[in-house]
């Protein structure tokens, strides 16, 4: 146990040895015995632990009978074999293929923009005003 690792342990798990990783607890306690200055670190962590102990609980436990009844109803409504896996969520890694897809999407967007800006209907000079003028000429001819 090094001073750095001891500080890391206390930073992460606090001052109570019961919360320290079991594999390192004994070594950390031995370190504390031979390095009294580590007690300063421990005391600061203990004050924070005391504050965390005051973490308020917003919820009261639901009525077990109510839960049981709800579960029974849900079980009747659940389709057979409806088992939900609970693997922990993990972010998918960003692969080379993902970057390639993003690049292709961006390129397609730029092409679309360029093609859109060079729309042949714009160069034909056919707009609302022209149509209006033609209509007026035709009206006048009546």
């Amino acid at each position: 146990m090094t001073p750095v690792r001891f500080a890391e342990l206390v930073d992460a798990y606090g001052a109570d040895p019961r919360r320290w990783p079991e594999a390192e607890r004994e070594a950390a306690l031995a370190f504390l015995e031979r390095a009294p200055e580590a007690r300063t670190t421990l005391e600061a962590a203990r004050r924070l632990d005391a504050l965390i102990d005051a973490w308020p609980l917003p919820a009261a436990a639901p009525d077990p009978a109510h839960l049981t009844a709800r579960a029974a109803r849900a079980a009747q409504e659940a389709p057979a074999g409806n088992v939900v896996p609970f693997a922990p969520r993990r972010k998918p890694p960003v692969t080379l293929m993902a970057w390639a897809r993003a690049g292709a999407l961006a390129a397609a967007g730029i092409c679309g923009l360029v093609i859109g800006m060079s729309d042949p209907t714009v160069t034909n000079n056919v707009n609302g005003l022209d149509v209006y003028d033609v209509a007026q000429v035709e009206d006048a001819s009546w």
């Binding site: 019961r18 924070l48 965390i52 005051a54 609980l57 922990p88």
Partner: protein, 186 residues
Amino acid sequence: MAAVGRGDQRAFARLVERHSRRATALAGRITLNRADAEEVVQEAFMRVWVKAPNWRPQAAAGDALFATWFRRVVVNLCIDRRRRPVSEDIESVPEIADDAPAALDAIASDETRKRVGDAVAELPERQRAALALCHFEGISNIAAADILGVTVGALESLLVRARRQLKNSLADLAGEGSAAKSGGLR
């Protein structure tokens, strides 16, 4: 779980009785919201009921394995929920007793609890979940990491960041001569 898997409602009721209190405390500490915590626990028990027929405990791990799995369900459901502002809820609801080593709760002032609650609410949910698991649940770091689906190193990183942010937010309470030592929690 085997009895629950056979549709034994009394066995299920015993399971609910045994785990609902602690599960609700855990969910409450992560969601910081009474309604969300209750819904999470109900949903978690629904999943227990549905999953039970296919539950295959490993060797002698039995109840401990179930508790770890069930905590994972609760934590995942909590994190899946959209975070909501909850300060009113925390202030308005009295604390319930908890088996965790939280003796100082009894003497913590309302003001201190509010300050701590506000500071905790500012933590990202995964940091809050890591802290709730390691500080109150009395489980090993390996089990906590397993529940969160991260490595032990990543768990320690979550804990360090959470505690440092709390220390900064509560610097006036956590400083020398304050907190429990000098009655700052009274």
